[in-house]
Symmetry: none
Subunit: 151 residues, 4 copies
């Protein structure tokens, strides 16, 4: 029992260190799950898209391009995801702003104002993002949301 107590005391600083100075991150298994669910949703309507998953630093960890998708979407999907993780908000927010006349947003580096990029949060930390491109931006967003539901 004394050993147990010692264990508790020892684990407290480790635990608080973890709380204060570590943060969650997205792993490959989760990324796969998100992309699988997103692709499944796309297939339902025979939509061809590129699905990209970035980590919290904006680096690509998973990308899938469905056959027949326009090649421009490879970069667009990544740019949407990058915008989402760089600004911690869905690209829809920028799209709505621009649609409402706030075109000044277009001068911000890495800001994409087209729906289809959504950040992924865990414990209040932005751990990554999904970006989808290939069909209409509203449809891209439907696919992205379906992907995130699998997380």
């Amino acid at each position: 029992m004394k050993k147990l107590l010692l264990l508790i005391l020892c684990s407290i600083p480790l635990l608080s260190l973890a709380q204060n100075h570590t943060q969650p991150y997205l792993n490959l298994e989760e990324a796969k799950r998100i992309v699988d669910a997103a692709e499944e949703r796309a297939l339902q309507d025979n939509w061809n898209v590129v699905i990209a998953i970035l980590d919290g630093g904006g680096h690509l960890i998973y990308l899938r391009k469905m056959d027949g998708t326009q090649i421009g979407s490879v970069e667009v999907a990544q740019a949407k995801a990058k915008s989402a993780v760089f600004f911690k908000r869905p690209t829809k927010v920028f799209e709505d702003l621009v649609n409402a006349g706030n075109t000044r947003i277009l001068s911000l580096p890495n800001a994409v104002a087209v729906e289809g990029g959504i950040p992924i949060f865990k414990d209040g930390v932005c751990i990554g993002a999904i970006g989808v491109s290939g069909v209409t931006s509203a449809q891209d967003a439907i696919i992205a949301e379906a992907g995130l539901k699998a997380l």
Copy 2:
């Protein structure tokens, strides 16, 4: 019978046109198979790598980053694959040239002189490439070759 003959005669030019003027391409299903086999080989030795598959136009169609891989490998894996498809030869060829003193290769746009990028051919056409990065370049190449065996 006459209609049939007419049909045959009409279809001949179309058919020959098709034969002369199409080219094979790499699809998502094949890309997945390659990446699965490459990842399986990497896991055998607990190697962490990024595996990227590009199509014949040099556009990314599949990418997977194994947990813990250095983030620099995301770009390097794609650069190796791009070099392989842009120059229709493994990056090993450039590496050997540079090792033999031909440093001038380093001034070529998109040429990567580090093993791990291999082009994919079908019927004499370069339909894409695989690029691997994360461990030593010789190990990256072993993983890339294991992936291509699955095709």
Copy 3:
């Protein structure tokens, strides 16, 4: 006494040369002071921002990213400051123009049309700029102005 006179006479051309042909510049100590004051203002409201100071040539001399600030702000803060020093005017000027319908501003290289970038003048010379990003653009500008008051 004669020597003193000679010394004065000799130093006159040098002095006038100095007056005609030098320009003030921003040094590290001033940059630090600006950033300290800006950060202090941000902390008052628990705002997380990136604060960047550029010199008169548009080169970064100081940058601080407060914990939790969206990573997109690292580039945005520098872009705002760059716009301010490149065009010798606050980014608010471009924002107002774009808001008034002059979207053509968005096609200018290095022009950012979002508040938060302010040039720094001394003796009529633009010696640098501050750029702030992380909260709303109006709040970013409040922080930037607070920083400049310390100069």
Copy 4:
């Protein structure tokens, strides 16, 4: 005592979650401390340098340019730090390779083969890097190491 036991049991999954799915990161206070120590070392020898600190995703969180440092060093310091965090190794490793004839390294995206960039590790995770540029690369590295001792 029972409550204590309950506490232990409850804390186990949290702890293991922290171990499996969170990772440490570099904060602004630590970055400041590193830069202060590095600048102090540089001042000892009247060396003028740029000191840059990146986070684990390769994003700038702190930069200081000492007065008189060549402007090229602003980018070089960041590039060295980026290379260190992207490849999880000091730029000295690439410098030594290139010096030994492995010039092929020069074709890798984001690889800098000049001393002065050092990654920062915590619990086996690369949480960032320091990059120094301004004097000789050996002196840049001395400054970088002095900075890291403060962590």
